[in-house]
């Protein structure tokens, strides 16, 4: 067959094939060369024959290929089927379960004390409601099956109401979450529930004298924070008092909410912003995400205060989110200065010290 008799596509195909083949052979040769260099270097540097020793050692470490045994000659589940006799309760226990059983049997070790205290706690609760003797016997027998059930039940109820996790998703709803701040401190308090429906009017009144009391939409519970709790406005507190105690509700010791909000917006006073900033000083240990939400809330309300909010606000609030608590005080001082000066030129001055502070922090 001459070249002219083959069709053009056949020619192309054979060409392509030969090209591909040549490329492959090039690659293989590269690989061989690479190996040669490697070996040559190993020989000249003296590490080529390192994995060869005398015949006896070679025999010692030979790969083992017998059935039931791994390549080192060790048996895998040697102790799996062995049974031990517990010295305490004289029962036969499987070897792998022996250690945990001993822990519980002897009443020593971390878990057993936890289980015991839990049992005591729950048995106190159970005794108040009706309980059988048989239930307690069951407790003793199947210590870790029954016990683990109890554990999970408790855990679920603990997670339920006031955990910080849960409140994260609801973070942006308007300020009804007094609970996540106080979750750790007030856990037992909140779990038992300050259900305003069950309290008498006198108790309510005394509670409302000292506590914020705003009812959270999600948990239907009253906020147990102080009267100046920044999660809720005074308007909310008044509303709660009105609705719960009637129009004869005692006035809030803070003074009129209306007046305060006006002065807050109009005068751009130095006093109000700094006063608001003292959430750094209050008792709660705020997690960083709540701090950032607070910061943005804070700057959101301050929008009317400064005339140049667009340029400054994003950078400030971003960095506040990053370094929230520590900068609380410093911020306040700066912002107090910025407040009254509504001119553009003046605003430039304070900006540079701000940047300076951040550089130090960073």
């Amino acid at each position: 067959m001459t070249m002219e008799e083959m069709t053009q596509s056949d020619l192309d195909n054979t060409k392509l094939e030969s090209v591909a083949h040549d490329i492959l052979m090039d690659l293989v040769e590269d690989a061989c060369l690479g190996l040669c260099f490697e070996v040559h270097r190993a020989v000249k540097q003296g590490y080529f024959l390192l994995d060869e020793t005398d015949v006896e050692s070679m025999k010692d470490f030979e790969i083992v290929d017998r059935p039931g045994v791994d390549i080192f000659g060790q048996v895998y589940n040697q102790w799996k089927n062995k049974e031990c006799v517990c010295p305490n309760c004289e029962r036969g226990i499987a070897a792998s379960r022996f250690a945990p059983h001993l822990e519980k049997c002897l009443g020593m070790g971390r878990n057993s004390s936890r289980i015991a205290s839990r049992r005591i706690a729950s048995s106190n609760n159970v005794n108040r409601s009706e309980s059988d003797q048989e239930d307690n016997d069951d407790l003793n027998d199947n210590d870790w099956s029954y016990g683990s059930e109890k554990k999970t039940k408790k855990r679920k109820s603990d997670k339920n109401s006031n955990s910080p996790r849960r409140s994260k998703s609801l973070k942006h709803k308007n300020g009804e979450l007094g609970s996540h701040f106080s979750a750790d401190q007030y856990r037992y308090h909140c779990n038992s529930g300050i259900n305003y429906e069950t309290l008498g009017p006198d108790e309510l009144r005394s509670l409302l004298m000292t506590q914020c009391g705003v009812v959270s939409e999600h948990t239907k519970r009253m906020c147990t924070r102080s009267l100046k709790c920044p999660q809720h406005t005074d308007e909310q507190r008044r509303a709660v008092r009105l609705s719960l105690l009637g129009p004869a509700a005692p006035a809030l010791p803070d003074g009129d909410a209306v007046v305060e909000s006006d002065s807050y917006e109009a005068t751009n006073g130095q006093q109000v912003p700094i006063g608001r900033l003292h959430w750094g000083g209050s008792s709660d240990v705020s997690p960083s995400d709540s701090t950032s939400s607070k910061a943005s809330e804070f700057f959101g309300t301050n929008n009317s205060v400064s005339t140049k909010p667009k340029k400054k606000k994003p950078s400030l609030s971003l960095s506040s989110a990053g370094q929230g608590r520590a900068l609380g005080g410093g911020f306040g001082a700066l912002h107090g200065d910025l407040g009254p000066s509504n001119h553009r030129k003046k605003n430039k001055h304070p900006v540079t010290p701000t940047a300076g502070i951040y550089e130090d922090m960073n």
Partner: protein, 106 residues
């Protein structure tokens, strides 16, 4: 045009094409990838160990102290080429053909 002249013209065109393909292979990083792939496969299939054993023999033959790269290359490369398993060859050829189909000017 007659047969031989035709062949010559085709040859130079062909070599041009080869050069172009090789260049493209290198430029797009495909050659490196193919090289790594080949190396990995050769180690996997035991080719490297086989050849290393052969190296040992060659070295013992030539004398440990006097072995040169050229000796090794001369002895190893033909054997290495022959020892490549067919499966590895097939897989690499597949990849090369795919590349050519995508990027050749034909």
């Amino acid at each position: 045009m007659h047969g031989n002249a035709m062949k010559r013209v085709n040859m130079s065109k062909e070599s041009q094409m080869r050069a172009a393909i090789n260049q493209k292979l290198i430029e797009m990083g495909e050659r490196e990838r193919l090289k790594e792939l080949l190396r990995a496969k050769l180690i996997e299939c035991g080719w490297k160990d086989q050849l290393k054993a052969h190296c040992k023999d060659v070295i013992r033959e030539k004398g440990f102290e006097h072995v040169t790269v050229e000796d090794l290359v001369a002895e190893i490369t033909p054997k290495g080429r022959a020892l490549v398993p067919d499966s590895v060859k097939k897989e690499l050829l597949q990849r090369i053909r795919a590349f050519l189909a995508q990027h050749s000017a034909l």
